[in-house]
């Protein structure tokens, strides 16, 4: 059969005419990506405000009468859940996944554009249901972002009647939205690549997003299963998770259920979730480093294999979140071992990033600053992860600020730095305009140094034994005055970092309308999205003819070439490299 690209087989490519079909009910992956991103960033700002409220309480206890202990727990819960799922997962996969996959693999659109459109609107519904919990009796749930039963649905926990149900329903809706999007991402990567684009010629961004989507598709059902069973426990009175229990002096009708079962299910989702957020960040940061260091990524094959290995291993480490719940020592041994093993492919990636910089022609533009910042915060958070992976070290540290510092470093700050770097990097392509470089640099340095001054002291607090989740520490003998001072300083840093994000928003909004017109390929990047005939790319991406790919994504600084990069769709020039290999042998 003669080859016809999948995107070109369908003669009736959705062709928007009116404002509504073009920007609202759009089936164009680029518009959907922007819709996803705007919703995610919007709800992320809510979560940012919530963290500011928590920090106000922790830094200056007994000062703010509008923050009650229940409020505080509601802030924790909503902040955690929004940041992890509704912001990071949605932004990386729904936002960057949607924008980058078709452009980077040379497709005209996702393979199921209608389902893609449904995905974003169902996601919006999930966000609205979640936020609706602020307007119901009792407010949102205060069960902590892990929603552990039995307390999540017992009276006495904030939002035990309405809030928790809305949370679980919202999660279920989100999972439906994600599955619709995820089917698109996987099938587009597998089936809609342009001619010449083998799997091993894909940019690492696509590898990261692809693997993260597979993890999401297999792991989110665990959250759905636990949500369904918890809703039944709460509304109908089944005892999947609820043990026989006396609540407020009253024997409840529950019998024999297992809270630990919930923890297994939750973390079977929860740990892959870490990598659902991390793998796209790994992929994107690899591309940022390579482009802005004008050098091919070090060890491309190893990078791909490491992504696959991390993806596989992430399903067998979940119980390291449950050391304090108690388990058979052999299980603890098993999970500590797998946890430490997963550090090996991760470390390979870190070495390769650093070695990509080695002897590179580094351009410290804003995206590169964020990418290098990521290496710092990720190494930092990764190393404390090695501490916590060991059962004996985890037990005393698990309920302290050490853990808060660790996971914010590794899966809060690190992915967010990549998000910023990626937005700055692709902004000229998305909008056709250039952002303000100076504002971007201020944004980077204040955010980077600011987050360090937030989370570094938390490790110290944790080693002192300051417990996390507490509304107020009160007068406690083992907590010295210096800890209170550290808390104040953390709060001040946190507020500064929060306010600094206004710089980013101003820069983005102002540059979109008033920025200088950007070059179609301002960074001299090799990947396909920079080679589109129009900037920003028009509907259908490629004009009349799909691109063809003749090389991998990392032909930077090839000896003898006219420029220091060769786009992926440029055919081999026999004069430049007659039979000679480029780059490093991995």
């Amino acid at each position: 059969m003669a080859y016809v690209a999948i995107a070109d087989r369908d003669t009736h490519l959705h062709d928007p005419q009116t404002f509504v079909t073009k920007y609202i009910w759009s089936q164009d992956h680029k518009v959907i990506a922007i819709q996803y991103s705007l919703i995610a960033i919007g709800v992320g700002l809510v979560a940012l405000v919530l963290s500011g409220m928590m920090r106000l309480q922790l830094g200056f206890p007994d000062t703010f009468s509008f923050i009650t202990p229940n409020n505080y727990l509601q802030f924790i819960t909503m902040h955690g859940m929004i940041m992890v799922i509704y912001l990071l997962t949605a932004l990386f996969l729904g936002g960057f996944g949607n924008y980058l996959i078709p452009l980077m693999v040379g497709a005209r659109d996702m393979v199921f554009p209608y389902m893609n459109m449904l995905s974003v609107w169902v996601y919006l519904l999930a966000v609205l249901v979640l936020l609706a919990s602020y307007f119901v009796p009792g407010g949102p749930t205060g069960a902590g972002w892990t929603l552990y039963p039995p307390q999540a649905i017992l009276p006495g926990t904030a939002g035990a009647s309405w809030g928790i149900i809305l949370m679980l329903v919202s999660l279920a809706i989100f999972i439906v939205a994600f599955t619709m999007g995820g089917l698109n991402y996987v099938c587009t990567v597998l089936q809609a690549r342009c001619r010449g684009m083998t799997l091993m010629r894909m940019p690492l961004s696509i590898w990261g997003i692809f693997m993260a989507t597979i993890l999401g598709l297999l792991a989110f059902p665990a959250l759905l299963v636990s949500a369904i069973m918890m809703i039944l426990d709460s509304l109908i009175g089944t005892s999947f998770f609820m043990p026989a229990i006396v609540s407020m002096g009253e024997q409840l009708a529950y019998e024999g259920g297992s809270p630990i079962l919930f923890q297994h299910l939750f973390w079977f989702f929860g740990h892959p979730e870490v990598y659902i957020v991390a793998l796209p960040a790994f992929g994107i940061v690899s591309d940022l480093l390579s482009v802005h260091a004008r050098k091919n990524i070090f060890g491309y094959r190893m990078m791909v294999w490491a992504i696959l290995a991390i993806g596989g291993l992430s399903f067998v480490v979940w119980a390291h979140h449950m050391y304090v719940s108690g388990m058979n020592p052999y299980f603890g041994f098993f999970f500590a071992t797998t946890t430490l093993i997963i550090a090996v492919p991760t470390a390979i990636k870190v070495y390769n990033w650093v070695l990509t910089l080695w002897h590179g022609d580094i351009h410290l533009r804003v995206p590169m600053l964020f990418a290098i910042g990521f290496i710092f915060t990720f190494i930092h958070g990764g190393l404390t992860g090695l501490f916590l992976g060991n059962v004996t070290v985890d037990l005393p540290l698990s309920d302290t600020y050490f853990v808060v510092g660790h996971f914010h470093m590794v899966m809060g700050v690190s992915p967010i730095l990549v998000v910023f770097g990626a937005i700055y990097h692709w902004f000229p392509k998305i909008t056709g305009k250039m952002y303000n470089e100076t504002l971007g640099k201020w944004h980077f340095w204040l955010t980077f140094l600011g987050t360090y001054s937030i989370y570094l002291p938390m490790h110290y607090l944790g080693i002192l034994g300051v417990p996390r989740r507490y509304f107020a520490l009160g007068e406690t003998e083992f907590i010295p005055d210096s800890a209170h001072i550290a808390n104040e300083s953390i709060t001040i840093s946190a507020l500064i970092v929060a306010v600094v994000q206004i710089l980013f928003i101003i820069n983005m909004v102002w540059s979109t309308w008033r920025g200088q017109k950007a070059d179609p390929n301002p960074w001299g990047a090799t990947t396909l999205e920079w080679q589109t005939p129009d900037t920003p790319p028009k509907h259908g991406n490629w004009g009349p003819k799909l691109p063809e790919v003749y090389r991998w994504a990392y032909d930077f600084s090839v000896p003898g070439a006219a420029r220091d990069f060769i786009p992926q769709n440029e055919p081999l020039d026999p004069k430049i490299a007659p039979g000679r290999d480029h780059g490093v042998h991995a």
């Binding site: 690549r193 010449g196 297999l218 299963v225 297994h264 993806g311 067998v316």
Partner: protein, 223 residues
């Protein structure tokens, strides 16, 4: 959890081995590899995107049911578990579901032949058996409720109602696709048109849900 881990590992193993053997060992920066890669047509699998999508969806649903089975296995070990005597009606329902799957397979073969009247008959028969199965499941629920076995009576009951209900919901989703196929068939006039692919995909889905049911039913019977 071990069921699920096993499921995921087997899936990852198969996919990983396949990818590795065929696609992941190339050195894209070398000239010899480059010549091979230039003639690559772009798609990884020799099937349509819709079929790829269906297989990925089936993997997601498998993960969903495997997790429920893991939860079942773990919850079963606890003291308050009182096994439920499954109504014997379920055997009849199983037979009906097998018949619906056979009917769909027959329809699929007819669609490959391009035999439109046979496809229409086949779809109607399949639909009849499927609705009969769902009605049978509801009847089984009512029998249980009539004998005082409610959803909240014991967690074994809860699992029974939940698993049968979720399986039924998936079948209802399949019936939505089935109705769409009927609609397409009517729109297509004398030819099969797009209905042909719908029949193919629906048949796969029906066989898959039969398999899920057999596994679930086996698990419920064995415990």
């Amino acid at each position: 959890m071990s069921t699920t881990v096993l499921f995921v590992l087997v899936l990852a193993g198969v996919v990983g081995w396949w990818l590795f053997a065929r696609q992941l060992t190339g050195r894209p920066w070398e000239l010899a590899q480059r010549k091979l890669d230039d003639s690559h047509e772009g798609a990884t699998l020799a099937v349509s995107p819709a079929r790829t999508g269906l297989w990925v969806l089936l993997a997601v649903i498998s993960s969903f049911f495997a997790l429920f089975m893991s939860a079942y296995g773990m919850r079963m070990m606890l003291d308050d578990w009182r096994p439920l005597a499954e109504p014997s009606l379920l055997w009849g329902n199983t037979l009906i579901l097998v018949l619906s799957s056979i009917a769909f397979q027959w329809t699929r073969v007819a669609a490959r032949r391009g035999d439109r009247p046979a496809v229409q008959t086949g779809l109607i028969v399949t639909g009849f058996f499927t609705f009969a199965f769902l009605a049978g499941q509801v009847l089984a629920w009512r029998q249980l409720s009539a004998s005082g076995q409610y959803l909240h009576s014991n967690v074994a009951n809860a699992f029974f109602f939940l698993l049968t209900g979720l399986h039924g919901l998936h079948l209802l989703g399949g019936l939505a696709a089935w109705a769409r196929t009927m609609l397409r068939l009517m729109q297509a006039g004398t030819a099969l048109g797009q209905a042909r692919q719908s029949v193919e995909l629906c048949a796969t889905y029906w066989h898959y849900l039969l398999l899920v049911w057999l596994v679930l039913f086996g698990m419920l019977l064995a415990t």
